[in-house]
């Protein structure tokens, strides 16, 4: 029995290895357009986390176009595919919206481990380089040592940090941060919040409270509510974006960890279903590894 299972597993392993070659770049697309080509394309898209619904839409589109235009060779599909993907991301790119209110407040949200604190650090660095004065609000009072982690970033970027003790009310930290930034005339407040799963209702309410606190200073703030999404996450990130958007009115997305081999294809269904602008892409641990989102570059990487 055990041996049978082992053999079975081994076989599965070999198979998977053989098939692991299917990526769009490795996929031999310069061949006759037939069902097997579409099947391979489908697998390649699924592998990039594009998800079954969006993938089916793309394949349907390609099939229809191929028929309409009488295409014969897969090579002719390449451009169409790229165009389709870019068009699916249309309306989902955008720059940071700053109001120059002194302070502009940017709120960062996301599930645990998505890279919020690191992203806050990188953005602080960006703003500093532009000559802006930046305040970091350590509103993650929950995770052990989260405040220390942000303190290190404050040092690195020479930003001012406002913090309370661990376990303190995050809204109170935010109040103090915005309040002091206002009286000192600082340009930007970056609010780092505790990671939370979108399924935890009470934690989503806590975010709403933080938002209300910010609104006490200015109805226009926070000028951005940015959801930080882990690019290695699969179809669940659609749920995350949906719930965060519903409960906290997310204004933009930052997708992180695209420096590995993950492609972040879940952005396609997220954009397709939710139309939230994607602002930045995190591509490494270095302080400068944060790039504005460029749909064309993203799609090229996706198809690579």
């Amino acid at each position: 029995m055990l041996k049978a299972i082992y053999e079975h597993l081994k076989k599965g392993l070999q198979k998977t290895k053989e098939q692991a070659k299917i990526g769009l770049s490795e996929l031999n697309i310069s061949r006759k357009i037939d069902d097997s080509l579409f099947e391979d394309l489908e697998i390649a898209l699924l592998k990039a986390d594009v998800g079954i619904n969006a993938t089916e839409e793309i394949i349907e589109f390609l099939k229809k176009e191929a028929k309409k235009k009488g295409l014969k060779n897969g090579e002719e599909l390449k451009g169409l595919l790229k165009e389709k993907l870019i068009s699916m991301l249309k309306g989902c790119s955008g720059e940071l919206r700053l109001l120059n209110e002194k302070p502009d407040v940017i709120l960062f949200l996301g599930i645990n481990g998505s890279g919020k604190t690191t992203t806050v650090g990188k953005l602080a660095y960006r703003f500093k380089k532009e000559g802006k004065s930046v305040v970091l609000a350590a509103a993650d009072t929950f995770r052990a040592a989260a405040i220390e982690q942000l303190e290190v970033w404050a040092e690195r970027t020479e930003a001012r940090i406002v913090k309370h003790k661990p376990g303190a009310d995050p809204a109170a930290v935010v109040f103090d941060a915005v309040n002091s930034a206002k009286s000192r005339g600082d340009d930007i407040v970056l609010v780092d919040t505790a990671g939370r799963l979108h399924t935890k209702e009470h934690l989503m309410k806590e975010l709403q409270k933080i938002k209300r606190t910010i609104k006490k200073f200015s109805e226009n703030q926070p000028c951005e509510t940015l959801l930080v999404l882990d690019g290695t996450i699969g179809q669940n990130s659609i749920n995350q974006a949906k719930v965060f958007k519903e409960s906290t009115d997310v204004s933009g997305i930052i997708i992180t960890k695209l420096d590995g081999t993950a492609k972040g294809g879940a952005l396609i269904p997220i954009c397709r279903e939710l139309k939230i602008p994607i602002k930045f892409v995190g591509v490494g641990e270095g302080i400068e590894d944060l790039q504005p989102f460029d749909p064309e570059a993203f799609v090229s990487a996706l198809l690579d």
């Binding site: 299972i5 082992y6 597993l9 081994k10 599965g12 392993l13 198979k15 998977t16 098939q19 692991a20 299917i22 697998i43 699924l46 592998k47 990039a48 986390d49 998800g51 079954i52 599930i111 645990n112 481990g113 998505s114 890279g115 929950f142 995770r143 052990a144 040592a145 989260a146 220390e148 982690q149 303190e151 290190v152 970033w153 799963l197 979108h198 399924t199 209702e201 882990d230 290695t232 996450i233 699969g234 179809q235 669940n236 990130s237 749920n239 960890k257 420096d259 590995g260 081999t261 993950a262 492609k263 294809g265 879940a266 641990e285």
Partner: protein
């Protein structure tokens, strides 16, 4: 099991209602839905393709299971197949010499540090002397995070903020643990990308110096298609002995479990199910199988109930109900038991079929608080003997509990109805206690 199906699978059972046998067409129809479910659960697409192909071979022309329809047979067989791939529950290796080092490795942000704390707590509760240490010299405050966690569960934590060499640190910590007579040393490592050669080499070096009994790969259950590539590289380079799946308290389906088992063949040892340090359990394949297929997590629910409900108290109450002695005191106790289960919404979501249908259901927990407050504002005599509660007593109770007389009346009415029901049940001899859970 078939009452547990979520929408997708009830749809499937319904679709195949008229099928008399599992011919090729019927099976193909069914497998389309299964494929979709697996892909939505982030099972690796190649694993899915192979799995579906294997399934087809096994299902076509298979005889129906006695008493089940074609659709039900298909679901049952698929469930069994997923279970088989997921493998058995697999316990931790016992150390041959102390300290037994358990290395935790994985990408950034998968929850290694939190997991180190959780694992330490679990081992400590089993009577082992445990220590934790972090060799993460890169992420700011990583050591501090681990030691804060360790402190909260009263477990030793080794740290050295000045040493910047992770390998030297690891050796130093093992020596310390040896001196302290530690049986398990949990070694947290820095999160790293599998393609970061330099850092992967560092892991290999640490491993060769500390001779761990376990090298556990901590994987985020939400990870997408790339998850298996990453795990594969880790396995090839470092050599894994097991996997811990984290963040299963969200609504991610954890398809990675299936991919990891199928491709690496490494056992899944534990799962992390929440932010609290006790939210950590040994891996049981049936639960993940149900989750991946969207069958609901009935087992966790049962366990939660068993843990929250005091058997003796339930027994005692059963007797009282039997004799129609059920008082308001008992009602309060009963509410307490239910509330011990945690937020009711979470409980309802675990019930298969309910989860998807009642997505937007909000349970008003305040109602329970109200009932409790009202009962608390009664005198012991009133609780035992509610008939004596007259108008002026009601006014006092309402004032005392911050509610209104209408609220008090409502509680009394509910209590009366419950009592009437119990009398009836006693007479008919069919005892179905509301709190004696059928398990």
């Amino acid at each position: 099991m078939f009452e547990l199906l979520t929408e997708k699978f009830s749809g499937l059972v319904e679709k195949l209602k008229r099928a008399k046998r599992l011919d090729e067409r019927t099976v193909e129809e069914a497998l389309k839905d299964i494929r979709r479910a697996l892909l939505e659960a982030d099972v690796n697409v190649e694993v899915v393709q192979q799995f579906i192909k294997d399934l087809k071979g096994k299902l076509v022309d298979r005889e129906l299971i006695k008493g089940l329809t074609a659709g039900e047979t298909v679901v049952k067989l698929i469930y069994d197949e997923v279970l088989e791939v997921l493998g058995e529950h697999s316990p931790l290796q016992k150390p041959e010499k102390t300290p037994g080092v358990i290395m935790l490795v994985g990408l950034q942000g998968t929850g290694k540090t939190t997991t180190a704390g959780k694992l330490a707590r679990l081992l400590k509760s089993k009577g082992y002397t445990v220590a934790v240490a972090s060799t993460d010299v890169r992420r700011p405050a990583a050591m501090k995070q681990l030691c804060t966690l360790a402190q909260s569960i009263d477990v030793k934590c080794y740290a050295d903020e000045d040493e910047k060499d992770a390998v030297k640190l690891a050796e130093k910590f093992v020596k310390q643990a040896e001196n302290d007579g530690i049986s398990y040393l949990i070694l947290d490592t820095a999160g790293r990308l599998h393609i970061d050669e330099e850092l992967m080499d560092e892991l290999v070096l640490i491993k060769s110096r500390v001779h761990p009994v376990e090298v556990l790969y901590v994987a985020d259950a939400m990870q997408g298609q790339d998850a298996i590539n990453t795990a594969e590289v880790y396995h090839q380079k470092v050599g894994l002995t097991g996997v811990i799946l984290t963040k299963l308290d969200g609504d991610a389906k954890g398809g990675i479990a299936l991919s990891v088992r199928r491709v690496l063949g490494v056992p899944i040892k534990f799962i992390g199910t929440g932010e609290k340090i006790e939210d950590f359990q040994p891996f049981y394949p049936d639960r993940i199988a149900q989750r991946i297929l969207g069958l609901g997590d009935i087992q966790s629910l049962i366990e939660k109930m068993q843990a929250a409900i005091d058997e003796d108290k339930a027994e005692e109450m059963a007797k009282r109900v039997m004799n129609a002695e059920f008082t308001l005191e008992d009602l309060k106790e009963q509410i307490n038991m239910i509330r011990n289960l945690g937020p009711l919404e979470n409980i309802l979501k675990m019930i298969p079929g309910v989860g998807s249908k009642l997505k937007h259901l909000k349970v008003d927990e305040k109602k329970f608080i109200k009932i409790e407050a009202i009962i608390n504002s009664m005198t012991p005599e009133e609780r035992r003997n509610p008939q004596i509660i007259n108008g002026s007593r009601k006014r006092r109770i309402a004032r005392g509990s911050g509610t209104t007389i209408v609220d008090v009346n409502q509680v009394l009415k509910q209590y009366k109805e419950m009592k009437k029901l119990m009398k009836k049940m006693k007479k008919s001899g069919k005892m179905k206690l509301p709190f004696n859970l059928p398990m």
